[in-house]
Amino acid sequence: MAQHGGHQPNHGAEGETRRDFLYLAAGGMGAVGVAAAAWPFLRSWSPAADTLALASTEVDIASIREGQAVTVTWRGKPVFVRHRTADEIKQAADTPLNQLPDPQPDARRSAAGKPQWLIVVGVCTHLGCVPQGQRPSETRGEFGGWFCPCHGSHYDTSGRIRRGPAPKNLEVPPVTFLTDTSIRIG
């Protein structure tokens, strides 16, 4: 920064470095101040305390017969509870992991010790549509699980992505079996 006039020759060079330093320091402080002031506003967009505190969902699964599925709501999202047939379980368990875009064994996805119960969040991992396949009238896609009509993602009987643009398997929410016929999600 060239400064003209007003400086004593001796102090010229020194004065300029000092001035540069002051500019930088003031500018740096200003930037930190702006960032600090922006933070509360940005954070105000994150889920509020009451949203976070949304209760967990309890579901009575006694009435879901083999081959049937129900959809429940948890944190505003659909959760698929499916009572799988022996065939579906076998299909899921027999699929070699190297055929999966997001490899996960079925045993890590179905309920521990109760492979007939598969509980997954019913939100397509592509862009968030609700896949079809819960109702008997809906298509289950080419792998017998779910099919997302939005951009064509196929999920298998373990809720794992098999084909289509979705990158991940359907999410498995935290599930606790309260009794043999009742579960808590969340």
Binding site: P47, R75, G76, K77, L127, G152
Partner: protein, 420 residues
């Protein structure tokens, strides 16, 4: 803005008083009256002022809608139905606003293609062009958030899909989406903030439009020949020539606009948006509003989530850098025989993208979408840089007046400041 003209001769004492303290009259005289404008502008140069008038219409109708709208998931849908059925002329105000969004995009797309055809983005108008792309992006954000407000099925699922695009960002993506939602799905907090932003963004657009005009008036309009003005004989004053022409354009355009508002108000919309939002059921075919379809087609053409999102945003970003991708020194396609053809190929490519964007993403449609998406980028990234170097352009006229008056000399009608 500093300009060398002496203050206008004002006789009214109040105007003189104001002028002395703030030279608004000199400013208006400079920019709306005398403003020297190429004498050869065709009707494609009407679309800028058309976009401006729609922005005003959107703000006026929007403010009156906001007076009756309730931004809450439990009431939003019903409040819009109430506007339609109970509020006096509510149906009219809403239909103008709803179709106005489509008109805005029609006009702006023509405006953009005008720029591409006549090379208006080239030096010294690069910044003007970039500000235009910024306006386009803001418009898309505004229209997207506006579409969420009536809280129908398409509102909800459009919002879900579009906000989920950001989950493709590596590592922090999913957290960003939760942050944007203010929850774990699109819900009341999302609707509230979208309403606030939908109210705000049009005014931000007004600000960027002002910058767009400052940049425009620095070097003036380009013209169908794409050559610079060489002297006063190439220009005519803005008023009355272009004020009248713009007014005429408004009149014709309003007929077109009114035809939709009164005779086909829902033609451009999707019937599913008259079904209240249901977070548990996705409609079998979700399609965005027509003006997003080309970009939606690019998104779906890529089998990879991050790749699709990146290319979709890239399709807009590549517009902004067009001034540097196009290496041709000649602006107007009138003198670029090869570019002229490839421009139309590109235009058709965009229409094809829009069409496949509305079709299911499978089979032949997917193949077409992939070819068209690839061509979209090839046009910008391969054709524009190479063509500018190899194309044999036609000889440029010596001046605008020489070309349009056949002979640049002699009687020049409407020479500056000479009003009929």
């Amino acid at each position: 803005m500093a300009h060398g003209t002496p203050p206008t001769q004002l006789t009214n004492p109040l105007m003189r008083w104001v002028e002395h303290r703030m030279p608004v009259f000199a400013f208006m005289d400079q920019h709306l009256n005398k403003y020297p404008t190429p004498r050869n502008l065709n009707y494609f140069w009407n679309f800028g002022s058309l976009a401006g008038i729609i922005l005003v219409i959107m703000i006026v109708t929007g403010i009156f809608l906001a007076m009756n709208y309730t931004a809450h998931t439990d009431y939003a849908f019903n409040s819009v139905e109430r506007i339609m059925r109970e509020v006096n002329y509510g149906w009219l105000i809403r239909y103008i606003h709803m179709n106005g969004a489509s008109m805005f995009f029609i006009v702006v797309y023509i405006h953009i293609f005008r720029g591409l055809y006549y090379g208006s983005y080239k030096s010294p108008r690069e910044l003007l062009w970039i500000l235009g792309v910024v306006i386009f992006v803001l418009m898309m954000a505004t229209a997207f958030m506006g579409y969420v407000l009536p809280w129908g099925q398409m509102s909800f699922w459009g919002a879900t899909v579009i906000t989920n695009l950001f989950s493709a960002i590596p590592v922090i993506g999913p957290e960003i989406v939760v942050w944007m939602w203010g929850g774990f799905s699109v819900d009341n907090p999302t609707l509230n903030r979208f309403f606030a932003l939908h109210f705000l963004l049009p005014f931000v657009i007004v600000g960027v439009v002002i910058l767009h005009l400052v940049a425009l008036h620095t070097h003036g309009s380009n013209n169908p020949l794409g050559i610079d003005k060489k002297g006063p004989q190439d220009a005519i004053p803005f008023h009355p020539y272009y004020t009248v022409k713009d007014m005429f354009g408004f009149a014709v355009f309003f007929v077109f606009f009114a035809a939709f508002v009164f005779f086909a108000p829902n033609y451009l919309g999707h019937p599913d948006n008259y079904i209240p939002a249901n977070p548990l059921v996705t409609p079998a075919h979700i399609v965005p509003e027509w003006y997003f379809l080309p970009f939606y087609a690019i998104l779906r053409a890529v089998p990879d989530k991050l790749g699709g999102v990146a290319l979709m945003f890239g399709a807009i970003a590549v517009l902004a850098v067009a001034p540097w991708l196009d290496t041709s020194k000649v602006r107007s396609a009138a003198f670029r025989p090869v570019y002229k053809i490839l421009f139309w190929v590109f235009a058709v490519c965009c229409v094809v993208l829009g069409w496949v964007g509305a079709m299911p993403a499978e089979g032949i449609y997917l193949t077409i979408a992939r070819i068209a998406s690839a061509y979209y980028f090839i046009h910008f990234l391969v054709i524009l840089p190479i063509l500018g170097k190899v194309e044999r352009t036609l000889p440029l006229p010596t001046s605008i007046s020489a070309a349009v008056l056949k002979q640049g000399s002699g009687m020049v009608a409407g020479a500056p400041a000479e009003k009929p």
